[in-house]
Structures are given as structure tokens and as C-alpha cells.
Amino acid sequence: MLTVRNLSTTVLKPATFRLETGECVAVQGKSGSGKSVLLRALADLDPSTGEVRLNGALREEVPAPLWRRRVTYVAAESGWWEDRVGAHFARPDRAAALAGALGLPGEVMDWPVARLSTGERQRLALVRALVQGPEVLLLDEPTGPLDAEATERVEALLRAELARGAGVLIVTHSPEQAVRLARRHLHVADGVVTEG
């Protein structure tokens, strides 16, 4: 569904790979190797050259906001711009259900953002992206700050997304997680992306 040819930025060397419908690909590599850069370039959050297509449609031919609704990047450090948690969600009712599935209390939507822990923020940032029903998810260490139980819940939710037909590109520092979720892997070292 997502085809990438010679994608490059000032940091990233030309990268070529594919992501199929319902497929999860793990992105691994040392800190600072360019994993986030790759994901950001795919979401068109940083200027990049090369060809990126979603189901045949060229990135440049889709308006950027629409492209990002389809190919959604969830950063490792989540950002919040309103005081109340619920104000960040397009559909708070659906968001509350998804948050529940991730082990968050039902009233979390009424909390102030300042009350959230890092792990809660990370899960809610994922929910925020999921309620919009993206076709491709670009996840930057989605379970980095989470304990084992929460990680399991996140992975279960991601499996449901894959079953729905979403493509997932996940940056992870955990080899176990990479094996659990993905059959294919991308390695990033010094901006060079290799498959294997």
C-alpha cells in the first residue's frame, strides 16, 4: 500500500522499501541513526525528496493535512495544546473506549493534561491518532515509557489495527517486540536504511 522510492533528507540516504496492507514492519537502529527522521519524512513533516505513494497516489498530489490523516506519525514525545485531555480528540466518545482498551480510566478525558504521566500521555497520543482511522501508522517508540502490562495492551490494539488493514511502521528498541509484531525489519544506521 505504501511504496517508497529513493526517499532522502539531509540526514537520510536514499531509501527504497514497501509496506503492504495489514503489514507491520519494525524499524530498528541506534539512537540518532535516523529512525525518527525516516518516519517524519514519510508523514511529510520534514522536507524530503524521492517518491512516496499511498495506494498509488503520489504524496505531492495529496494536500498535506489529508496525507497526514492517512499516514499518521505519532512522535516519541507527545505534544498537547489544550488544558483538558478530552479537548484533543476529534471524537471523545470513541477515544474513551480506545483509552479503556489501553488500561486508562474512563474519566481520563476530563483530566487536565498536566495530571497525565509520561506513559499515559504516550497511550493517549496513540489513541488520538487511531480515532481518525489512518491507513498507515508511523509509531515512534509507542511503548517506550510503558510497563509490561500496558505494552501488551498496546500491542493487542495494534494487532486489531493490522487486522483492519492498516499498515504499521514501528520504531522500537526492543528486539522482542519487533519479533512479536513484525515479520519484516528495517535497519537504520547513519541514515542508511537496509531491509533484513
Binding site: 498535506a64 497526514r68 512522535a75 505534544g79 498537547w80
Partner: protein
């Protein structure tokens, strides 16, 4: 009518500054030097302006008046840049600040000179230059404050702005909170000064007119006019400069472009 000031009178008043400097030295505040430098600058700059204005009024040339206005504008642009911790790289920062102030002050001043004050000729430097000075001075503070707030907040709130962009918001939606914050911050001093005027502060221009023998009622009318011109120019200039900066801080693909900012070199 007007009590003429002699240089000896000025020297007396300057003693106050020496007292301040002495206090600073005694308390080790480190303010004596900047205080002295600023005072010297003030004296030299004002003396020069006095000479220039005397010549300008005597020559009655529209081109020289325009030239003086341009020089003031360029200095104002320089000042707005100097206050920013982070600013747009290249000529953008200077260009946006100066352009917005020039357009706003120009429109407002032409309006004031052609409708309310109507000197003859309309560009008479005796009216145009002091009015431009007041309008530009305030627009300069406002624009400087707006651009400083915008660039600093954009850098600080990067995660929040990019989170919105990543969810498919347009650049205008994602940057609206910081735009609103910058506009409020920049216009607050103007609003405050209008609200406090006459009760707390007796504005310098009005006081000056009254001291030189103008009827207070007439001086008040002038002051009200000037305040309207000032707030009009500040509002227009701040809005234009802020919108242009938001545009430059993002691009057509709705990306946040903090790479277009440079940090001020540490002195």
C-alpha cells in the same frame, strides 16, 4: 510664555543620574556603566535630532522629509530585530518587521494628516515627523514584542504544534494558539496605556504642549488623536508582521519550519 532652559539647568538634572550611578556602584548592581552609556546616547541623539529637525523645518522639502521618515523606519526595523532571541534567518526578520511597520505607520499617518490635522502643505515636516516618531515608536515596541513572542513560543511549543500537524491540522490551525498569544502580548501595552491615560499617566506630548502654553483642552484633543493613530498603527503593524511570520515559520506542505530561525549570537 515658555520658560527657556539653560544648559546649567540640564546639568543640575543630570546630577540625579549621578546619584543613581553612585547607588548602583555602592550596591554593586553593575548598572552604572549601562546607565551612563544610555544617558550619553540619549543626549547625543537628541541633540543631533534637534539640529536635524531645525534644518528640516527650515528647508521645507518633501523629499528630505520623506528621507528622514525612511531613516527613522530603518532604525525602527533594526530595533525590532535586536530584541528577538530567535529570529527568522536572512533578511526575512528585518524585512517583515520593517515592511509591516512602514505600511501600518504610512497608512495611519496619511489618514491622520489628510483628514484630521491637515497642515499646509500636508507633508509639513513640523507635523509629519513628530507624529511619525510617536506612531513608529509604539508600533516598533508592538511588532518587536509580537515577533519575539511568536518565534520563542513556536520553538518552545514545537511538540504541541507538530502533534497537531501530524493529526492533519492545517498550519493556520496548528499555529493559531501561538499567534493569538503573540497578538495579545504585543497589544497589551497599548491597551494598558490607553486605559491608564490621564488617570495614572499624563502623556509626554500633551504635557509638552501644555508646558509650551497650549490650552489643555486643545492638547487633550491632539493627544486623543495621536493615541488613536498609535493604536491603529500598532494593531495593523503587529497583525501584518505576525501573519507574515507565521507564514514564513511554516511552508506550503504545512510543515513547521523552525530551521528557518536562527538564535541570536551570544554577546
Amino acid at each position: 510664555m515658555l520658560v527657556t532652559l539653560h544648559y546649567a539647568d540640564l546639568a543640575m538634572a543630570a546630577l540625579l543620574l549621578l546619584v543613581n550611578g553612585g547607588l548602583s556602584t555602592a550596591l554593586a548592581l553593575g548598572l552604572a556603566r549601562p546607565l551612563l552609556v544610555a544617558a550619553l546616547r540619549m543626549v547625543v541623539q537628541l541633540s543631533l535630532v534637534g539640529l536635524v529637525l531645525t534644518r528640516l523645518f527650515a528647508l521645507e522639502s518633501p523629499w528630505l522629509t520623506l528621507g528622514a521618515a525612511l531613516v527613522m523606519l530603518l532604525f525602527a526595523g533594526q530595533e525590532t530585530m535586536a530584541r528577538q532571541e530567535r529570529r527568522l534567518a536572512g533578511w526575512w526578520s528585518y524585512g517583515i518587521g520593517t515592511g509591516a511597520m512602514g505600511a501600518a505607520a504610512g497608512i495611519v499617518l496619511l489618514l491622520g494628516l489628510s483628514t484630521a490635522v491637515r497642515p499646509d502643505p500636508w507633508w509639513d515636516a513640523r507635523y509629519a515627523i513628530p507624529m511619525l516618531g510617536m506612531v513608529l515608536g509604539n508600533a516598533m515596541s508592538g511588532v518587536g514584542l509580537a515577533l519575539h513572542t511568536l518565534t520563542a513560543t513556536a520553538a518552545r511549543e514545537r511538540a504541541a504544534i507538530e502533534a497537531q500537524l501530524a493529526l492533519g491540522c492545517t498550519r493556520w490551525t496548528a499555529l493559531r494558539p501561538i499567534l493569538r498569544h503573540a497578538l495579545r502580548t504585543a497589544l497589551m501595552p497599548t491597551i494598558n496605556s490607553m486605559a491608564a491615560m490621564g488617570v495614572v499617566a499624563l502623556p509626554g506630548m500633551m504635557t509638552g504642549q501644555i508646558l509650551s502654553g497650549v490650552d489643555p483642552g486643545e492638547a487633550v484633543k491632539y493627544q486623543i488623536l495621536i493615541m488613536f493613530l498609535i493604536s491603529g498603527a500598532t494593531g495593523l503593524g503587529v497583525l501584518a508582521a505576525s501573519l507574515a511570520t507565521v507564514r514564513r515559520l511554516s511552508d506550503r506542505r504545512h510543515r513547521l519550519r523552525l530551521d528557518r530561525l536562527v538564535r541570536r549570537r551570544q554577546a
